[in-house]
Symmetry: C2
Subunit: 354 residues, 2 copies
């Protein structure tokens, strides 16, 4: 035998020796397999305890060609939605006793996606969950996963048509949310509605816009489409500031930040919110409740999105591909006027989902 640094690590062989069984029996016990006599199992468990044995997952992965690891790639930095989604993924993964390997990138670092993905895939995760609303990044992720035959779940972006690797899509039903945002303003008496869209590259922004436009069409009201913003407060301010007085009596912004900026611009010009202009944002992030007036917003269940993404990933490994859309919820706050009439009639037209 060669001279190799002898580690003091305990292996299943040590446990087996102490328990007086074979290594395979120990393997059966740590994998909770059936067909081990209760007494034997107990002896093995005692030995594990006594020696402080802990299974080496690298050895297991290598031998079984499977891992108990989920990979997560997010391009959302530390902004609220992506963070909450990633947190939901972790909660669900912990419940299934899966390890989570993650790579968090910031927006506009698409060039870093292949490198990050390579690092993740080297660990051979059972599946990869992409948390991104950047269509280009999602495309890159899908392509590389297809190449390496890694099952993947997209949250927020459009799934491709490829079929080399199993994949699924979990998303928030942003279209319906966009539609409801407009309908909430209509129900509150607004008739000249302006829409501040999010950036073109964002799938989220696109679907919200589709819903907004659809609502306007369906209800036969003109929609004032404002310039595209980049999600920031500053952009919301600038865009709302360019409006002529009286041009709108309601504003839907594609996210909370831009809605907050819009409110600030209106207030700076002495326009009352919600008296003269009502405003609704998207996300219902933590800042929505803090501003004055507090911001009404379409609440998107990012946490649930993460949980469903894990479920979809596990389904994939069992051969089932899912395509889930999660419903949003209107949160009424100070930036809109209260309404006495029930909105049920308008709201109920939406298709059920989840």
């Amino acid at each position: 035998m060669r001279e190799r640094a002898r580690h003091d690590r305990t292996t299943i062989y040590d446990v087996a020796r102490l328990a007086g069984v074979s290594h395979q029996t120990v393997s059966r016990v740590i994998n909770n397999e059936l067909g081990v006599a209760a007494r034997t199992r107990q002896r093995v468990l005692d030995s594990i305890q006594q020696l402080g044995y802990r299974r080496r997952s690298a050895a297991r992965s290598l031998a079984s060609s499977t891992s108990q690891t989920l990979a997560v790639l997010s391009t959302g930095g530390c902004s609220y939605g992506p963070s909450a989604t990633v947190l939901g993924i972790h909660r669900a993964a912990a419940r299934h006793r899966l390890a989570v390997l993650s790579s968090l990138l910031e927006r506009h670092t698409a060039s870093a996606v292949p490198g990050a993905l390579g690092l993740l895939l080297a660990e051979e995760p059972m599946a990869l969950i992409a948390v991104t609303d950047d269509e280009q990044a999602a495309g890159t992720i899908a392509r590389i996963c297809e190449q390496s035959r890694t099952p993947y779940v997209l949250t927020g972006a459009t799934p491709p048509n490829n079929e080399l690797a199993p994949h699924a899509s979990v998303r928030l039903d942003q279209e319906t949310a966009g539609q409801e945002a407009v309908e909430q303003l209509l129900a509150r008496g607004a008739r000249r509605i302006g829409y501040i869209p999010g950036p073109r590259f964002s799938a989220d922004a696109q679907s919200r816009q589709v819903g907004v436009l659809r609502a306007a069409t369906q209800h036969g009201i003109p929609l004032r489409r404002l310039p595209e913003g980049d999600w920031t407060v500053k952009a919301g301010f600038r865009i709302a500031d360019s409006l002529r007085s009286d041009e709108v009596d309601g504003i839907v912004a594609a996210n909370d930040r831009m809605a907050i900026g819009a409110i600030q611009a209106l207030q700076a010009r002495g326009v009352s919110v919600p008296g003269e202009v009502q405003v609704i944002g998207f996300d219902d992030g933590p800042e929505a409740a803090l501003v004055d007036p507090s911001l009404s917003s379409m609440r998107l269940s990012f946490d649930l999105l993460g949980v469903m993404a894990v479920r979809a990933a596990l389904d994939l490994t069992r051969g089932t591909a899912s395509d889930v859309a999660i419903r949003s919820q209107f949160v009424e706050r100070g930036s809109v006027r209260t309404t006495r009439t029930s909105l049920a009639r308008i709201g109920d037209r939406r298709p059920a989902a989840v």
Copy 2:
């Protein structure tokens, strides 16, 4: 040879055959080792490219008993500080081409720490970084890491005295930040300063308080210590609301949220901020700039904290233990009065760090 499902996976042996070299030479190339002839290296690289070979990290870990993986355990949920720290860790890890295995828990889930840690340690990370300001959680983490001889880095909590496993501490210099917050108010004419502390279990809250109290003592001003809050806007509101009029002309709150709540309470009673009471928070999170008046805050470089934590973790694996404190920065906004006099004289007394 037994019948075993033959995977189509390419290994270094496949690469070696194609390149006409031994598997060891391939290993040398993929590990960037010296002493491989340039021509040979190129042939191997070409073969890797051609076959789409990707190293299996499980095999590498098993054979070398080392991994290129960093484990991260956070108890901060998706709130700003912890998220930004975790993001910083990811940025730095990516730069070093390290995989990141993470477990994100929410506050008050201390009971989940051992389970989460077990899952992480099974992967045998080169080191673990704890992102928590919960002393109890940090204690548990330290104990378990010591047991399994895993190097660990604490961010935000106090390191223990154990010496079984190498460990380091990286933190934000919260004491100095607390001191400066008070001094900024003093420099702006405030003389009756109230302090809203964070929860007792939080190490962050404790160090901020130490600095605040020290500043008051040093400058010989009375400090009105208010009841302890739980970081929420609501707590800040409640605590500030319990103040008698004129009791304070300056408030330092242990975080932005509580500071925002305090401002709202004051404004609700018709007290002008910053006219009658000036307010300073901690964190400089995204909400600080959004409220009205915008909130002055002690900016803590969470991102840098994460980056330094990775550096400390790498140092640990080379046998160096570091203990780093990162300086904070005052961000002046609308919730304090402007001052014409330079603050350099008061500010300069602080010891240099990082």
